[in-house]
């Protein structure tokens, strides 16, 4: 007995968990096999044979363990076998005698049996208790054993006090027969284990990396998290077992999956469950990781385990090579987990102190040495708000985000209500409440059905996701989607995605609440406000640094980040499809709603049809015209948006990591990417966080700009919008203004082809107008909602680092109309040159004097001052000069500003909120010309100081014209025909897009369009466009010789990289890692009720790259990564100079007062950026990345790739420093 115990506890003691989880090592793999034979009676008898043999083997025993094993089988064997069992019980043998004699595998087996028994005992007690006397005797023995097991485990004494009857929880899903035949399949288990070991090295890696595998893994993890959230550890364990028990499926599990289940049990304080899962984990050869230990420690504190147990656990942790400090530095805690773990540690080390927060690292980029050096510290600019005010605004924002959506009045609400509308609204309200009930009922019924369905069936896969929110919230979401469905309908895929992600977003908010993450963010934000508020001490931190400091001080460590819990795309789609199906089936309307003479029959509101597009079909959901009619009659004036669609009402939370920043609750990605792409996030997570600091700081700087509404302009726009719109001024007219379709005689015989065509055109136009109108309505309504407020646009970026404001509808990246209604909230005096800058800005906006020098533009503005003032004073009734300009609304806003400023007693002291823009002239080519030091190119894109702005398009046009003349003289027909047609307009688009990799094919199409516009003879268009695009390419080649070389080098390198099966990656000079997310699309078909849906499978790093896209996109993406770097550098240095700065890609905005400073910084940073050895660095990086020298077998293509990558193009003779003095570089 003692020996056995020793054998059992030997390894377990060191483990420290109290229960030897290692004993389980082979148990579960056995049970997988057993499951298959569950009900086979013949096998059971076979089993008995084995057991009998076993009993003989064991010979004599007085050890209850063995007998109990037999007893366990009793319920399964039926009455007939009772006698046999009796016999085995009486003929017990002493196992302890055997132990020393048997090989070590024997001890293993025994250990296993022990454990199984323990499990069984728990489970069977209730059954056993109701047995006969004889049975009762057995129970007693069982209890004894149970007690012994416990006692051994915990205190290693056979104390009788623990003989209280164990709880008959029996919560595990394990089948009764699971454990019983364990001994029979032992040899097989052993063999399997060996097989597994043998297979692992070869097949597992490729298996693990497959796309399907990853998706499945993510799905399982996600389902487990769901159960964790729902506090249903039983369900989680059921699911885990389902995979755990099958060697094939088990490959889909990771340590994290077990950790999630453990955490579920830990939250309920079930230590033995946690330990059980831990032993499962070990049994399949996984090592517990830090997270596993935190869970264990947390649970131990909760269940008040003995000091010894905790001590053993910590010992084990150290033995595995971890450190106690790691727990607090590397793990993400939720709720009070951290406190619990700390408590546990302090039980054994009362004086344990939390590790000091890591010292903030400082970015070492050469470009930002001055920026980050603390020598020239300027305190962070203050906002014009007190702490109290900011706190109130934060509260408002928080409330808005907590309710997920916000309903605001549309700008159309000022229109009077017609009686018809009132009636339609009543009708709609009645229908809506009916629909709501119908949907709720359908949802509940469907969920009930699902909960009874078997595990693993397709539907129950999404069942947990249907439980994470209250049913009513799902109904809310469905009603929201129904309300915004356009009369033209929407594709199933889009709707499903929308529904799915809405559920996800709400779930996320709930999770943040549940895990106390929100409380912590709130606390930090309240302190963070002090950095920004005017009535608090100046401090010399950047927002990110300050936030990090506060987090460290509060001791939250990384706990502000939630564990990654995003739902796989496939799950989102499935969930969405499921909800959509419920909507289609449940929402009905009486057929006679509009035509009372029809039968009052209920018909579905949503119908599902297919639309055929060339070779494939797209499923559409369309609302019934009855529905669309009522909605349009009701003319409802409330609009509902996601809270993330509204600009923030308080300064955004600074980005401190790729997973944290922007909105308070709404999840925002630092980098935007296509659905399912995970490479970017991986790359960001992997790269040293300090490298991201410049990018994060730049985004914070852009997001920190406070905005307000230009109310007079907004009012004028709304008045036109509510009148009849104005297409010329870009205010979309209402659909009622759409051209009326020709009247079709009701008894129409064959529709004429032309009539049909006309009908179609009308429909198309109406659909277009509807979407334009809705877009404008959203923008203006949001603007109107924030008209009296100060607001912020949090920013994120695309994968090349180009920055975008997060709110989608209304932001400064919008069209002329939206830009015209935005003003800086902060005002600055115009200063001595401010008014002039306003005037120059005005002329720039008109597009009238592009080729003139700044002074001439200013003179022109002064010349037409009368027009400007007239426009400002009588915008709609005066001479309307502003209307005939390139950007009429911004011109009008600017006119008003100039009028106010020039009429103020001292224009220099006039406080202006107006943003003045400076545009890069053909920014892409500027970067190319600088990269290649192209002299001619540099001149033509204004890198060289000149008296008048150079226009690259005209220069190219001239060049092309020269080519044409030569060809015409040589008698080329098309060149002769083209005489007099070549101009700036014709070549502009192609030149502009050449930088971004337009091909001959695309270029020709552009040319064709331009030629049609200028009424070129139609019969020559094809030939002429062909000729022209060739000449434009030649012209550019001539002027930007190095540019073409660079472009070709980039293209060729990307091609070779992609062909070698890798994706093109690089790092911007600011340290942002970039990967091109173009892969050969593999789509997965989701079979859903309504129809099957083809979904682009979530791409991962093992997918094959799409060579053509990788190749064609590399030059433009690379250039974009450079222009974004230039912008960020400018933004950061403007911040140090205390400037307000925002950007629309290559258009930089600031106050009129600071235009000159911004211009200077912009040029300095451009020079600084291009003084870096950009191409050499790129070449080095790629050589390191793609041609690692370690590889022995250097194949031909590797050689070729190496040569290509090393062959950096030569550069020209342009002196980069000239840019500093170039007036028209950005103007």
């Amino acid at each position: 007995m003692a020996l056995l115990r020793a054998a059992l506890l030997g390894p377990a003691r060191l483990r420290g968990g109290g229960i030897p989880w290692s004993v389980l090592r082979f148990y579960s793999s056995a049970s997988a096999k057993e499951k298959a034979r569950r009900n086979a009676v013949c096998e059971r008898t076979e089993l008995l044979e084995v057991l009998k043999a076993r009993v003989k083997q064991l010979q004599t025993t007085n050890i209850p363990e063995v007998t109990i094993n037999k007893v366990e089988l009793a319920p399964l064997q039926g009455e007939g076998h009772q006698g046999l069992l009796q016999k085995t019980v009486s003929a017990g043998t002493a196992v302890e005698h055997l132990v020393p004699r048997q090989s070590s595998s024997w001890t293993e087996k025994l250990k296993k049996e022990m454990y199984i028994r323990q499990m069984k005992v728990e489970k069977k007690l209730s059954i056993a208790a109701s047995r006969t006397l004889e049975g009762q005797a057995k129970v007693k023995r069982k209890i004894k054993v149970k007690a012994k097991v416990r006692a051994k485990v915990k205190t290693k004494t056979k104390s009788k006090k623990s003989q209280k009857s164990p709880k008959a929880t029996a919560a595990t899903s394990r089948n009764q027969s699971h454990a019983a035949p364990s001994s029979a399949s032992k040899p097989r288990v052993e063999k399997m284990k060996q097989d597994l070991k043998a297979q692992k090295p070869q097949c597992v890696p490729e298996d693990r990396n497959s796309n399907h595998h990853k998706t499945m893994q993510q799905t399982i993890q996600c389902n487990l998290e769901c159960f964790l959230y729902l506090q249903q550890p039983e369900e989680a364990q059921k699911l885990l077992l389902l995979y755990h028990s099958n060697p094939m499926r088990r490959k889909l599990l990771s340590v994290d999956a077990y950790n999630v289940v453990m955490r579920g049990w830990a939250r309920k304080g079930c230590l033995h469950r946690v330990i059980h899962v831990l032993s499962m984990l070990e049994s399949v050869g996984f090592q517990p990781n830090l997270d596993s230990y935190t869970v264990l420690l947390e649970c131990m504190t909760q269940s008040q385990s003995s000091t010894k147990a905790i001590w053993r656990c910590v010992q084990q942790l150290k033995k595995e090579g971890f450190h106690v400090d790691d727990l607090f530095q590397k793990c993400l805690f939720e709720g009070n987990e951290k406190e619990m773990v700390l408590k546990a540690i302090r039980i054994i080390q009362p004086d344990y102190q939390l590790p000091p927060p890591p010292k903030p690292e400082i970015c070492k980029s050469a470009l930002l040495k001055n920026f980050y050096s603390k020598k020239k510290v300027v305190s962070y600019p203050k906002l014009n708000f007190t702490v109290q005010e900011l706190r109130e605004r934060f509260q408002q924002q928080l409330e808005m985000e907590l309710s997920s959506t916000i309903t605001i009045e549309s700008v159309e609400s000022t229109k009077p209500l017609t009686p018809q509308a009132i009636k339609a609204r009543q009708q709609l309200a009645a229908f809506r409440s009916q629909w709501r009930d119908a949907i709720l009922q359908a949802l509940q019924e469907s969920k009930d059905k699902m909960s009874q369905a078997k595990m693993m069936s397709r539907h129950s896969l999404i069942y947990p996701y249907l439980c994470v929110l209250p049913d009513e919230e799902y109904v809310d979401i469905m009603m929201q989607v129904l309300n915004t469905l356009s009369p033209q309908g929407e594709s199933l895929a889009v709707l499903a995605r929308e529904l799915g992600s809405k559920v996800y977003n709400r779930y996320l908010v709930q999770r943040k609440l549940q895990s106390c993450q929100l409380k912590k963010v709130q606390e930090i934000y309240e302190s963070y406000i002090h950095l920004l508020a005017k009535d608090s001490q100046p401090s010399e931190y950047l927002p990110r640094e300050y936030w990090e400091k506060l987090v460290a001080e509060a001791g939250y460590g990384p706990s502000l980040n939630l564990k990654d819990c995003s739902w796989p795309y496939v799950i989102l789609m499935r969930l969405g499809m499921y909800l959509l199906e419920i909507m289609v089936h449940a929402v009905k309307v009486p057929r006679n709603t509009l035509k009372p003479h029809l039968q009052p029959k209920l018909i579905p509101v949503l119908y599902h049809i297919y639309s055929f597009r060339s070779s494939w079909q797209v499923g559409l959901i369309k609302p019934h015209p009855i529905f669309s009619q009522i909605v349009s009659d009701a003319a409802e004036t409330m609009l509902t948006f996601n809270s993330s669609a509204i600009p923030m009402l308080c300064p955004p939370v600074p980005w401190t990591s790729p997973r944290f920043g922007a909105f308070v609750l709404n999840e925002t990605k630092l980098m935007r990417f296509v659905d399912g792409a995970i490479q970017h996030q991986q790359l960001l997570d992997q790269c040293p966080q300090v490298n991201l600091h410049p990018v994060l700081d730049a985004l914070n700087q852009l997001g920190s700009c406070a905005w307000k509404i230009n109310q007079p302009v907004l009012d004028i726009i709304i008045s036109i919008f509510n009148d009849k719109g104005n297409e010329k001024l870009d205010i979309p007219p209402p659909v009622s203004e759409a051209p009326k379709p020709p009247v079709v005689p009701s008894s129409s015989s064959a529709l004429h082809k032309s009539l049909k065509h006309e009908l179609l055109l009308c429909k198309k136009k109406a659909a277009e107008m509807h979407s334009l109108r809705m877009d404008a309505l959203y923008k203006l309504s949001i603007a109107n909602y924030v008209r009296d407020k100060v607001f912020w646009f949090p920013h994120n970026m695309d994968f090349r680092g180009r920055t975008y404001p997060c709110p989608p509808y209304f932001n400064h990246l919008g069209n002329d109309v939206t830009r015209a209604i935005l003003l800086f909230a902060e005002g600055r005096p115009l200063g001595p040159k401010g008014l002039d800058w306003l005037k120059i800005h005005l002329i720039n906006l008109t597009g009238l004097k592009k080729k003139n020098a700044l002074q001439e533009r200013l003179d022109y503005a002064n010349e037409i001052m009368e027009e400007i003032l007239d426009s400002a004073d009588h915008p709609l009734t005066g001479r309307k000069w502003w209307m005939n300009t390139d950007e009429p609304w911004q011109v009008l806003a600017c006119c008003m500003e100039i009028a106010k400023a020039s009429r103020s007693p001292d224009p220099a002291a006039f406080i202006s909120h107006f943003p003045v823009h400076q545009d890069g002239s053909c920014n892409g080519l500027q970067h190319y010309a600088a990269l290649g030091r192209d002299l001619i190119g540099a001149i033509s894109v204004n890198l060289m100081p000149c008296n008048v702005p150079q226009d690259v398009y005209s220069v190219v046009a001239q060049q092309v014209e020269e080519f044409r003349k030569k060809d015409a003289e040589e008698g080329l027909k098309i060149a002769q025909v083209l005489e007099g047609f070549i101009g700036r307009k014709v070549v502009k688009q192609t030149v502009m897009t050449v930088v971004y990799g337009v091909t001959r094919y695309g270029g020709r199409l552009q040319m064709e369009k331009r030629l049609k516009e200028i009424e070129f003879p139609e019969e020559y268009i094809w030939e002429a466009s062909h000729y022209l695009v060739r000449q434009v390419f030649n012209g550019i080649k001539e002027m930007f010789s190095a540019t073409r070389d660079i472009q070709n080098w980039l293209t060729e390198s990307a091609k070779l990289i992609a062909q070698s099966g890798r994706t093109v990656e690089w790092v911007t000079p600011l340290g942002l890692p970039i990967v091109q997310p173009y892969y050969r699309i593999r789509s997965t078909v989701l079979t859903c009720g309504l129809q099957s849906l083809s979904v682009k499978s979530s791409s991962n790093s093992n997918q094959r790259p799409d060579t053509v896209k990788q190749k064609n996109a590399f030059p433009p993406n690379f250039i974009h990564s450079l222009d974004s770097t230039h912008m960020m550098l400018t933004a950061l240095h403007c911040l140090r100079q205390g400037l307000t700065f925002v950007s629309v890609h290559d258009c930089y905005w600031t106050h009129a007062l600071t235009v000159d400073i911004m211009n200077q910084i912009c040029r300095q940073q451009f020079v600084a950026l291009h003084s870096q050895e950009i191409l050499e660095d790129l070449s080095k990086f790629m050589l390191k990345n793609y041609c690692s020298p370690g590889k022995e077998s250097r194949t031909f293509w590797q050689q070729k790739l190496m040569e290509q990558l090393s062959d950096v193009p030569k550069t020209g003779k342009f002196n980069l420093n000239k840019v500093i003095d170039s007036t028209y570089f950005f103007s």
Binding site: R591, I609, S611, Q617, P625, A750, K763
Partner: protein, 392 residues
């Protein structure tokens, strides 16, 4: 060398006597000849039909439309017999893209009046010289049958042709639908976009526009075997029974005249391959000469050229997912009492759409049409849209 020549299907051709040297159909009696003349047959011009190898040299390997040509005299004679085997007055055959003219000569020799529609300049000149050497039995027109009545607006530029012009040139006037077939057309389907060409023909058939404005024009065309299988698929063959099958079977009498291996035809594809469309599910070893004669009673029971687009739309919607229940489809369009309707039509209530007979689709449509469900505006709109997507 091209694989087309080496394969056994065409191997026998070379050994044949040149057709021009043989008395054509000499074995028939004088009585038959008289009947022929009465029916408008022309006396055989006794042209020499070039042999395969010779004809091959006539096909330029570059330039012009890529296509498939008959160069084997034996195959030409088979086709000619098939063309003549049909019923009705048979004085004109419109031959599309005759190419080297092997079949043209064979037909002419058989006394058929031929209108040749050719777009390739190299062939055109040869055909024109042949035309000039004959006394009106052959008429050559520059144009491409598969670019008939282009849907783009604006002037029709050759080789696209207008059906009006074409039929005027052939001297054929429109006849009522139920009248006899006005003209026979022979052609080989271009393999690119075979499917969309079939759809296009279907649309003009149901609309009674383009060539079908002139009556029930009989098409004799070579199509790939797999498409033939689709056209003639039966309900229940879930993989092959498609909207195209239903619509063609409702619209036309489909008759298989002849099957010929792909290799018997000469191609002028640039890579010199046979360019056989890939097919995994269906056999695709042959080109099938299929006769598509529009049904005389197509426009009965409520189906009219005016509403036929709705019918096409309905069938397409049903058969996108052949395993779905017909009743579910009908209900999902909010069409009202689908169960009752099916009962009245004696169509099983829970039948899958892939199991419904073509005639039943027509009856279903007619019943729906008569109960004026389609008048509800949404269906009308969708139909218009679907026309745009397919037809424009």
């Amino acid at each position: 060398m091209r694989a087309g020549r080496a394969l056994p299907g065409a191997a026998g051709c070379g050994r044949l006597l040149a057709a021009g040297l043989r008395p054509l159909l000499g074995e028939r009696g004088p009585c038959w000849a008289a009947a022929r003349r009465a029916a408008g047959w022309w006396p055989s011009p006794e042209l020499r039909v070039p042999q395969a190898a010779e004809a091959e040299r006539l096909v330029p390997q570059t330039g012009g439309r890529c296509g498939r040509f008959i160069v084997c005299p034996q195959l030409a004679r088979t086709v000619q017999r098939c063309l003549q085997a049909g019923s009705g007055p048979q004085h004109v055959v419109l031959e599309c893209a005759p190419g080297p003219g092997v079949l043209t000569r064979t037909l002419l020799n058989a006394g058929v009046r031929v209108v040749a529609l050719e777009s390739h300049p190299a062939f055109l000149s040869k055909l024109q010289s042949l035309e000039n050497s004959l006394d009106g039995q052959l008429k050559v027109i520059y144009g491409d049958f598969f670019r008939l009545d282009p849907l783009v607006t604006g002037a029709v530029k050759p080789p696209a042709v207008c059906s009006d012009k074409l039929f005027e040139a052939m001297g054929i006037a429109p006849v009522p639908w139920r009248a006899d077939i006005p003209v026979k057309i022979f052609g080989i389907f271009p393999q690119q976009k075979e499917r969309s060409k079939l759809w296009r023909l279907l649309f003009i058939l149901y609309e009674c526009s383009s060539i079908y404005r002139y009556g029930r024009v009989e098409l004799n065309i070579f199509i790939s075997e797999k498409e033939y299988k689709v056209l003639t698929a039966k309900p229940g063959e879930m993989r092959t029974y498609q909207a195209l099958s239903v619509l063609w079977q409702v619209g036309c009498d489909i008759q298989l005249l002849h099957m010929e291996p792909w290799s018997s035809f000469l191609t002028n594809f640039k890579n010199g391959r046979l360019a056989i469309p890939r097919s995994t599910l269906l056999p695709n070893d042959h080109l099938c000469l299929v006769r598509l004669t529009p049904q005389e009673n197509l426009f009965t029971g409520g189906l009219k050229p005016a509403n036929s687009a709705t019918f096409i739309f309905m069938v397409k919607q049903c058969l996108t997912k052949p395993r779905s229940k017909l009743i579910d489809r009908l209900n999902s369009w909010s069409l009202g009492n689908a169960g009752k309707l099916l009962k009245a039509l004696e169509i099983p209530k829970y039948v899958e759409t892939g199991n419904v007979y073509p005639e039943d689709y027509k009856r279903l449509f007619c019943a729906l049409q008569n109960s004026s469900v389609f008048a509800e505006s949404w269906f009308h709109d969708e139909v218009l849209e679907s026309i745009r997507n397919i037809n424009l």
